[in-house]
Amino acid sequence: MTASADSDATRLPLRDLKFGADDLPRLRLSVEVCSIQAGLTEPHLSEFLLAVNEVVDNAIRHGGGGGHLRLQRHNGVLRCQVMDTGPGFGDQVIPPRQPDIDAETGRGLWLAHELADQVTISTGSAGSIVSLAVALTEVEEFGGRP
């Protein structure tokens, strides 16, 4: 994928949303709409949506029941940060190999790692921050005419 040049204005969040367990469909739709507007196309759009879902799912189940999602575009990269209020974790929780079908945990983050161009996990002031990034093939102005 080829990165496109963005202006500094595009560093502003495309979406900044709090979420809880009941918000997953709304959150996915919101991320989908913004990602399409940012220029993300199939199959990368489906891959990114699933990766975001898995990180959000993880935050709901293990990170205090909810969190905060920020979607941002900069320098031809679409980045989604998911912040939770759980006990925190490092990237050692991502299994190095495909989890067994019967595995209870680790599958979602492993799949997110497989699907996104980059996954980073860090510790924030209140919990963990998982950041997913995907390169954009083309960039259109938000809400603009084709």
Binding site: R107, E114, R145
Partner: protein, 293 residues
């Protein structure tokens, strides 16, 4: 009143230009959520969007309900990509509704949208205007079932949303059957039905719907015991989470007594199943049936 799901039921997020869909609601949250998803995806995809909301609701209120996120769609509204209209604008210069006039006007609107550089036009129509105008339901039904030329070039999509509190159950069912597509009530919903071919899964399989998804799969295996094979049609699943995909693979792997389990799905869902280990299950045959467009 429950609304059946069947071979033409899909999720709102799967609608594309060329689609003509029936939608239904019985509360205001569902009403706006569905229309909002339809409109937002159209705007994001570079389509022109026309909203014909309930005539009793002012356009600015309809805008706030459709786009509650700060600022979203403001630019589309300012540039004319998003417009709010009354049905009277769709039949001008006539004063009385005729299906012919409305379809003719919609053809003009599609042509205009294309000339303006948009990919096409999508209309979100709350059918409350039928009552407002005192129209006979048969006339509307005739329009809904004979408008196929409007969609043939795949430059126009239409969502017709019916309030189950205002239309009789037999009208709702006739409209559901009469449209080429019918939608699940809300974005994020999941449903399933069994046919002689197997189990058909529709909508979103995620954390919220995982139990229902698993129950539908389990029932499919129970019902097919003795037959030796099961077909699971995932082609209308709009979303499949890792946990639900793993549940499916686990059930197939444990389905002793079945020689073969067929899964029909999109290329992307086949990729997800493969990443999660589908190739290691000998009885599982994955067939790609439909591509997102």
């Amino acid at each position: 009143m429950s609304v059946p799901v069947d071979a033409h039921t899909v999720a709102v997020t799967q609608l594309r230009l060329g689609d003509h869909a029936f939608a239904h609601y019985a509360d205001d949250d569902a009403r706006w959520e569905l229309l909002s998803a339809f409109c937002a995806l159209g705007l994001a995809g570079g389509e022109k969007v026309v909203v014909l909301a309930d005539p009793a609701i002012p356009h600015d209120e309809a805008y706030r309900r459709l786009f509650p996120d700060d600022g979203f769609a403001d630019k589309a509204l300012a540039t004319g990509q998003l417009t709010f209209q009354d049905m009277s604008a769709m039949i001008r210069p006539d004063r009385h509704f005729t299906a012919e006039r409305q379809i003719s006007r919609l053809f003009e609107e599609v042509e205009l949208a294309r000339r303006q550089g948009y990919a096409g036009l999508r209309s979100a129509i709350d059918m409350a205007w039928v009552h407002e105008w005192g129209l006979d339901v048969e006339g509307v039904m005739h329009r809904e079932t004979h408008a196929d030329a409007l969609f043939a070039r795949r430059q126009y999509a239409e969502l017709c949303s019916y309030d189950r509190r205002c239309f009789a159950p037999e009208v709702i069912e006739a409209m559901r059957v009469g449209h080429p597509m019918a939608l699940l009530e809300r974005p994020g919903d999941f449903d399933a039905y069994h046919s002689i071919n197997g189990l058909h899964l529709i909508g979103d399989a995620d954390m919220a719907t995982r139990d229902k998804f698993g129950a539908a799969l389990s029932k499919a295996f129970t019902d097919a015991s003795g037959v030796g094979r099961v077909l699971l049609d995932l082609s209308r699943l709009a979303f499949l989470s890792a946990a639900c995909a793993a549940d499916l693979l686990r059930l197939v792997a444990q389905a002793d007594g079945y020689e073969r389990v067929d899964v029909l799905c999109t290329r992307f869902h086949a990729q997800v199943l493969r990443k999660l280990g589908s190739a290691r299950i000998k009885r599982l045959m994955v067939t790609i049936t439909r591509e997102p467009t």
